[in-house]
């Protein structure tokens, strides 16, 4: 481990030395542009820090408190988890419009298997997770083997899965009180622990298991994408599938694995959704596909594939959360939130294009 660290350090040093003489006329802006190019999560991190600071200064203690800041984490947990799935697919230059539908159908299956068929909660949850994995694998098979465009494939499966969701659930809600009494494991991700709360259990930092799961998931995927062969293959396939194939990457298997993993993560998001809203509701999560793509784009991940960091997607989701809560605390009309998110998307893509020029 230390050997490889040294090796990288040497490379880094050499690189700066080697290009130093060509860079004499380079401005600070160019260096900044270069830094952004090598660290794609930097832009969303800066925007996130700046927006927290901005709202903190404008609103003060009500926003800049442990309880409000951890509330943002709770509010973005579902979008954050789904955005992790979306990131994987978008890194392969694909897109997954079916993420929200898989999420909600998985949660419905978990609930109905436990309540309609009276299966043990563990079995019901396993069934929901398996379903998510299979639906994702089906997307992957259609994209990788049938060679259909990802947009079209997931546009189709989105409708199919959503219709199946309504037909199967009969649009019936399973209430939070019934779940708490009979199958509390379904609400596992809704359990919380607090740091620094007062005697009555108010204030302080509140973390749900769902938030912890989201953070661990993103860190795990960030490691896998950066340091495993599979992760490098994902980037390679997204950058140039033919070149990847020629260099010995099994493009087909990589794509199927990415879509299947995306489906599985969505199923976990479905489980977390039950914890978040307490009940199993087939009408939830309708906008998750758009929200996750928004988070990914604001997170600086290129829709053309092969570039971006999953940490960026998490930041993207958090930026949306910060703006939503911040603007509401300022008393602004909810419409302003959508307006600012729209602006952020355009800015994010513009910055992405600007950074790209460094590569050219």
């Amino acid at each position: 481990m230390s050997g490889s660290d040294n090796f990288e350090a040497v490379v880094r040093e050499r690189r700066t030395e080697a290009v130093a003489e060509f860079q004499q006329d380079r401005t600070l802006l160019h260096r900044f542009q270069h830094a952004l190019h090598v660290t794609p999560a930097l832009v969303p991190m800066i925007v996130l820090a700046a927006s927290i600071l901005l709202f903190g200064v404008v609103i003060g203690g009500r926003f800049f408190s442990a309880s409000s800041l951890t509330l943002i984490l709770q509010q973005v947990q579902i979008v954050g988890i789904v955005a992790a799935a979306q990131t994987l697919v978008i890194l392969t230059a694909g897109i997954d419009l079916s993420v929200g539908a898989i999420t909600v159908l998985s949660s419905v299956v978990m609930g109905q298997f436990a309540f309609r068929y009276g299966l043990p909660t563990e079995v019901a949850i396993l069934a929901g997770l398996t379903l998510g994995l299979l639906l994702g694998a089906m997307n992957g098979w259609l994209v990788a083997v049938m060679k259909l465009p990802p947009f079209i494939v997931t546009l189709g499966t989105w409708q199919i899965i959503l219709a199946a969701n309504y037909l199967y659930s009969r649009n019936e809600t399973i209430r939070a009180q019934e779940i708490a009494a009979e199958a509390p494991l379904l609400q596992f991700f809704g359990r919380t622990f607090r740091i620094g709360a007062d005697e009555a259990g108010r204030g302080g930092a509140t973390f749900t298991y769902g938030v912890i799961f989201m953070i661990l998931l993103v860190l795990l995927l960030a490691y896998a994408l950066r340091h495993t062969a599979w992760g490098r293959h994902v980037y390679a396939v997204g950058d140039d599938p033919e070149a990847a194939q020629l260099s010995g990457v099994n493009v087909r298997r990589t794509l199927i694995s990415v879509y299947a993993l995306s489906g599985l993560i969505c199923a976990f998001a479905g489980w977390a959704l039950i914890g978040r809203i307490g009940s199993v509701s087939p009408t939830s999560g309708a906008e998750l596909n758009i929200q996750s793509i928004t988070a990914v784009v604001i997170g600086g991940i290129s829709l053309f594939g092969g570039r971006g960091s999953i940490l960026g997607a998490l930041c993207g989701a958090l930026i949306v959360g910060v703006f939503s809560l911040g603007l509401r605390l300022m008393g602004a009309d909810a419409q302003w939130t959508f307006l600012f998110i729209g602006v952020l998307i355009i800015v994010a893509v513009a910055v992405d294009q600007w950074i790209r020029k460094v590569a050219a």
Binding site: S67, R170, T173, I277, Q335
Partner: protein, 338 residues
């Protein structure tokens, strides 16, 4: 040759259609979706009444809420089939008007169910819940339940959407009127100046939206003690947010709809009171009106003092309060839908 054959087949079909229309009365029911329990109940009511009166009923629905195109096709199909009347819960209340006009020109009776058209006189009649009354009842209930505390209540308003559809405005303004708060412009929510309203937010009418909206309002005003919600799923979400901060027993939640999970939530103390509406009744009365119209051309009359036919609303409360009429949870469960 083929064309000729096809033409003959078509005219035979058309003749058959005309013949059967004369023999028996037929009617169409067009709902927003086939999945929402509200519309499922509506369809049950229409089917039962149609069977009773010997009417042939055809049901149509959009694939999702907001699917305007399917509803237009359904109207065209109904006109072509020679139906006597159409019951429609319109997805797009303005855009559907020209298709409705075609149907009325063809001599069909058109009744808007649940959702008034824009303009409301585009249909022959509207059979709907009085949403203002629904809001008024829970407003009066909340004020009576709080008693003297109502004078310094801290109210959170969880609405439907930023585009403020009619039902959203009517329920909100009804609640405020019932509570005794000046509503300002009755055609929009959010312009009130009463300091007792500590926050307004939108929920999209589902659990996740209800929870997030409640959290947002609590972050700014942790001492909220009354919560108005647009419907029962958003009320369930708001309850989760209150439970997360340990305040679920100190806050009074009121809602509108009367779905079975919602009434069960009244029983369990999640929701204090909810205004129940009756989709089954709407459709059954609608079919009766079409039957009348087909028999002797009588048009349905609106309820006195209103520009629509009020299909009724009742307050369901586990703990009745003085001065506000309500039905028990058991009665509510018998009449609930979904």
């Amino acid at each position: 040759m083929k064309i000729l054959l096809a033409g003959t087949a078509l005219s035979v079909l058309a003749l058959a259609g005309a013949a059967s229309a004369q023999e028996s009365i037929s009617a169409c029911l067009i709902t927003k979706t086939e999945t929402n329990p509200f519309f499922v109940k509506m369809r049950e009511g229409a089917e039962a009444k149609a069977a009773e009166l010997g009417i042939t009923l055809s049901s149509f629905a959009g694939t999702v809420d907001g699917d305007h195109e399917s509803q237009v096709q359904a109207i065209e199909t109904c006109i072509a089939s020679g139906a006597s009347g159409i019951l429609i819960a319109a997805s797009d209340t303005s855009a559907i008007v020209s298709s409705i006009q075609q149907a009325r020109d063809a001599g069909l009776l058109v009744i808007a169910l649940d959702t008034p058209l824009n303009p409301s006189d585009a249909a022959d009649a509207t059979f709907a819940t009085d949403n203002f009354q629904a809001g008024l009842l829970i407003g009066q209930y909340a004020a009576a339940a709080l008693g003297e505390e109502a004078a310094d209540a801290r109210i959170a308003m969880l609405n439907l959407g930023v585009n403020q559809p009619t039902v959203d405005v009517l329920r909100n303004q009804g609640f405020l009127t019932g509570f005794g708060i000046d509503v300002g412009d009755p055609n929009r929510w959010g312009d009130e100046t009463d300091p007792r309203i500590v926050g307004q937010d939108v929920t999209a009418g589902n659990e996740e939206g209800g929870r997030t909206a409640m959290e947002n309002i609590l972050a700014a005003n942790p001492d909220v003690n009354v919560v108005y919600t647009i419907n029962e799923p958003s009320a369930a979400g708001a309850y989760e947010a209150l439970r997360a901060v340990g305040r679920e027993n100190e806050v009074l939640i009121v809602s509108v709809d009367g779905g079975c999970p919602g009434v069960q939530n009244v029983r369990d103390g999640v929701i204090a009171a909810t205004s129940q509406q009756y989709p089954l009744q709407m459709a059954a009365l609608g079919i009766e009106a079409i039957y009348q119209y087909a028999q002797d051309g009588t048009l349905p009359e609106p309820t006195e003092g209103k520009d629509f036919f009020d299909t009724g609303v009742a307050l369901v409360a586990a703990e009745p309060v003085e001065g506000v009429e309500s039905i028990s949870v058991e009665e509510g469960l018998e009449l609930c839908w979904g």
